[in-house]
Symmetry: C2
Subunit: 193 residues, 2 copies
DNA sequence: GTCTATAAATCGATAGAC
DNA sequence: GTCTATCGATTTATAGAC
């Protein structure tokens, strides 16, 4: 029997096979060329269909970007939900950081686009469901404080994780080593509990 | 009297006023919309001239990207040159990290595009003078080692700095606080000397 | 150094057949 | 669900006058 599905504020479920093909092709191309640098023609070519077929699934390019964002953010939402279930704030942050590292390593080839692409950042700011997830993540990372020290710490943690897994230096490192070393280094960033 | 100009492998000197206007406008637009998301028309509009006038200064868009990269990388090259002058490896890394933080805070609104934009990353890989600077930075950050621990550490330091200064959380923080807090947090990342 | 004008290709997006 | 065909706007880039 399945475990009860976590309450989702992001509707990433219910994709037809054709939609899934679009999302996966777009994800790979966005990561390599950026969102602005990816045309619908490139997505269509990658799938092996025409532009019109892509438009039948998502009738604007923005809709594709939102669908891609939902897929990537779903994991982050689960991680922050698990973290928020912890009672102690320091423990909560540890759980979230560990989840973020695991996700970032899993999705290392696409992690960059979510956190750095200007088009994606615009959606993260303006699309309400996305902003809520980001705000929950930041709140946990800041550990209840809101002073400059906590703010920069949260930014540095996010940046270190996203920046490290997408850094050219670690391109040839295996997932397990990257995960272990990243846990170790980012762990040093966290204040002693 | 002026101090002797540091040996430059990046030819960022010798810009005409018109070229400087192009570079500065491009820098701001690249940072906001990404490189692919910035057209020559947008650059021309920002300066207040026509596209043809822009093309008279740089006859391809790629040439503008290279010129922008040179300007931004010049600071990094000075920082790594200063760091390499130190005798002890741990001290060398400290000097470089401090220089990188200073540069990143100064250029916080454009720092992201250099380290994360897919088009810029392609130039950093393929343009030989750029790659040499990046390699020198990485060598100092890794402190003489080349194991997974040192590799991920170097990636995490770069990522933490670039990621932190461009993070939306710190957008409203003043430069001085950002610099101080970032030094503190990234300092914890460095192994005890 | 800047302009007008234009070329050739590609962009996102739509209509309608199958 | 995919196709052909097309639209209008925009893209990079060039030619030639001032």
């Amino acid at each position: 029997m399945e475990s009860a599905p976590a309450t989702r504020s992001l509707g990433s479920a219910g994709h037809t096979p054709a939609q899934t093909r679009v999302i996966e092709a777009a994800l790979a191309l966005f990561a390599e060329h950026g969102i602005s640098g990816t045309s619908l023609q490139m997505i269509a070519d990658a799938i092996g269909v025409t532009k019109a077929a892509v438009y039948h699934q998502y009738n604007t390019k923005d809709a594709i970007v939102v669908a891609v964002a939902e897929v990537v953010l779903t994991g982050l939402e689960s991680a922050v939900t698990a973290a928020e279930a912890e009672r102690r704030r320091t423990r909560s942050r540890e759980v979230l950081v560990d989840g973020m590292i695991e996700l970032a390593v899993e999705q290392r080839h696409v992690a960059g686009i979510l956190q750095q692409d200007p088009v994606m950042l615009r959606f993260l700011r303006e699309h309400e469901p996305f902003r809520r997830v980001i705000e929950r993540v930041n709140r946990v990372l800041m550990g209840g404080a809101c002073d400059p020290r906590a703010t920069v710490l949260a930014a540095a943690i996010s940046g270190a994780i996203a920046g490290a897994v997408t850094h050219p230096l670690v391109a040839e490192l295996d997932d397990a080593s990257l995960y272990l070393q990243l846990r170790r280094h980012v762990g040093r960033l966290l204040p002693r509990q």
